[in-house]
Each structure stands twice: as structure tokens, then as C-alpha cells.
Symmetry: C2
Subunit: 182 residues, 2 copies
């Protein structure tokens, strides 16, 4: 038994996410998302009546991906150095940062997205707390917030500046942070 409707919805969400990855929120139009799965723009609105409806669905999906990836990273990290390397690698993955920045922007405009974004932030912060305790470090709120903001800031700055030595600089900053936190 096939569920063509849910199938298409899923495909549209995936297409929307891909566009956020490539071009950010500016490129996120109904026309482009629909075209990517060979549908008419007007047809997309049958599945998602408004642009916001689609955006919320995409945001939900992005959050799942984001948290799952962080979870995996935490579980796989066997040493602090390993964790630092893994986090640094994510900070220079521009497709990833573009999605975060897009959600950030959308949050500033659409309350529905903001609610989702806040949820994600809380979950993200919680997982960073786990990471700290996992390595026997004090996981107080201020220290977790520090780590979280550091991750966000490094990602955002690297996206905008596109320095060649971005990864090295981010690694160094993260290493210093973890050393200080120890």
C-alpha cells in the first residue's frame, strides 16, 4: 500500500531542506522547491497551503537531522580531542550553517518557527551538557551556554568570511575553550 500524498510531502520537505542548504532562506521559494521534485508551484500549495506551512515542516525535519547528528557525534567521541575535531568539522560545513542561519532568520519573523527553534536550542544545549559530563567536566548552565554560543559563533563567522584557514582557527579556539573548561 502506497501513501502517495505522504510520499510527496516528504519529498517536498527534502527538496526544501536541500535548497536551504544550498542557498539559504533567500532561495526558498515555492517555485524552486516544487520544481526540484517536478511539480507545479500551484500544486505544492495543495500539500502545503502556505509558504510558512512548508517552512515549518522543513524546519522540523532540519531539527531532527541536526540533533541526530549531534547525538551521533557525542556517542562516537572517545576523547576530548576527538570531540573537538568533530565539532570543528561541523563549524566549517557551510551547508549545515546555512540551514541554521535560515532558521534563525525565520525565527525572527515567524512565531511558529521560533517555537521550533527554541525547542531545538534547548535540546542542543542539553546534549552539550551531556558531552561535558561525559568527560567528567562541570556542566553548569553558564559553561554550557558558553560552549553553545562558541559553536554557533564559529560557524556563523566561518560562513561569512570563508577563510582558507577557517578550520584550523576554529579548532584552535575550541581547543582553548575545552582546555580552559577542564
Amino acid at each position: 500500500m502506497s501513501a502517495p500524498k505522504e510520499d510527496r510531502r516528504a519529498k517536498l520537505v527534502e527538496a526544501g531542506l536541500a535548497i536551504l542548504r544550498e542557498d539559504g532562506l533567500a532561495g526558498f521559494t515555492q517555485l524552486r522547491v516544487a520544481a526540484r521534485v517536478d511539480l507545479k508551484q500551484g500544486h505544492l500549495t495543495y500539500y502545503f497551503p502556505t509558504r510558512t506551512d512548508l517552512l515549518v515542516a522543513v524546519a522540523r525535519s532540519a531539527i531532527d537531522t541536526q540533533l541526530a547528528s549531534l547525538e551521533r557525534m557525542i556517542n562516537e567521541a572517545t576523547s576530548i580531542d576527538g570531540a573537538i575535531a568533530a565539532i570543528a568539522a561541523v563549524t566549517v560545513r557551510h551547508e549545515n550553517t546555512r540551514v541554521l542561519v535560515a532558521m534563525n532568520q525565520a525565527s525572527d519573523q515567524e512565531p511558529e518557527v521560533r517555537a521550533l527553534f527554541n525547542e531545538m536550542t534547548d535540546a542542543f544545549v542539553a546534549k552539550l551538557g551531556e558531552l561535558l559530563t561525559r568527560f567528567g567536566l562541570d556542566a553548569s548552565q553558564d559553561r554550557i551556554d558558553l560552549l553553545h554560543a562558541l559553536f554557533v559563533g564559529l560557524s556563523v563567522v566561518d560562513l561569512a568570511t570563508s577563510r582558507e584557514n577557517g578550520k584550523a582557527r576554529n579548532s584552535a579556539a575550541l581547543a582553548t575553550a575545552f582546555r580552559l573548561l577542564t
Copy 2:
């Protein structure tokens, strides 16, 4: 002797900056900028032939404002606690963060803006270095980068989440960072 042309250009740039502060890059259209100074959209293009031309001029102006404000803050801070309070206050000033985020976005698309943004980032980082040395702290690249990313991250997260206790959390994270850096 009046210079009406330069006058209008300045007014348009100021209007553009105001719109970035209020609505971010999404609200930055030629129509809205022109309307704010009672000009026709088409007339705006006489002063700034393309949207990018205007955006670059606005970005340049925003950078000047941004750096001047940081400079002032550094000079006025008499203690580390004072500096922390001043920085925390800026991180929750959403109009300010919106402009930074807008430039960040624009940098991801327009090379001209990226060059400017990189300039600003370098100047910003240099000034943060001054701040550290001013209080007798080691100002190595990794530590400055840490502080810079922390500032950016706290600002961006606060804009998206709009927590009521945002300022307190940011202050706490900053205090912890400075304590560790000491």
C-alpha cells in the same frame, strides 16, 4: 554650498540601515528604502544603480558605526566587570544583531559585501585583542577568536530565541569566559 546629491545619498544609506535594523535583509527592498525618504523607487536607482550598490554603501556605513561603538566601549570600560556588562548589553540589542546577521547573509551571496565583512571582522578581532591586553590578559589568536565567536554566538542565539532571561544568561557566560581567560 549644498551638495544635494551627496545629501540624498547619505539619507538613503541611513534609511537602508534603519530598515536592516528593524526587519533585516528580507525587508531591504529599493521600494521601502526609497519610500522612507519620500523618493520613488526608480529615483533611488539614479543614486544607486543597483540594489547591490546600495547594500554595499549601507554595509560600509554599518561597519563604521559598529567599530566606533566597540571602540567607545573599550575606552570606557574601566574594569573587566564593566567590559562584561557592556558586551552583554550589546548581545541582546536585537537591532544591532539584525544588521550583523543581514551583512552575514549578504556576504554569503555577494562577494563585494563579503570583502567588507571580512575587513570588519578583522578590525573587530583586532579591537578585542586590545581589550584583552588592556586588562593584562594574554591576547593570542585562539583566545581572541574564542571571545569573538562567543560574542557573535550569544548575539545570534538571543535574537532567534528571544528569551526573557537572555541578558542574564549572556552575562553569566561572558563572565565565565573572562574568568577562565584570566
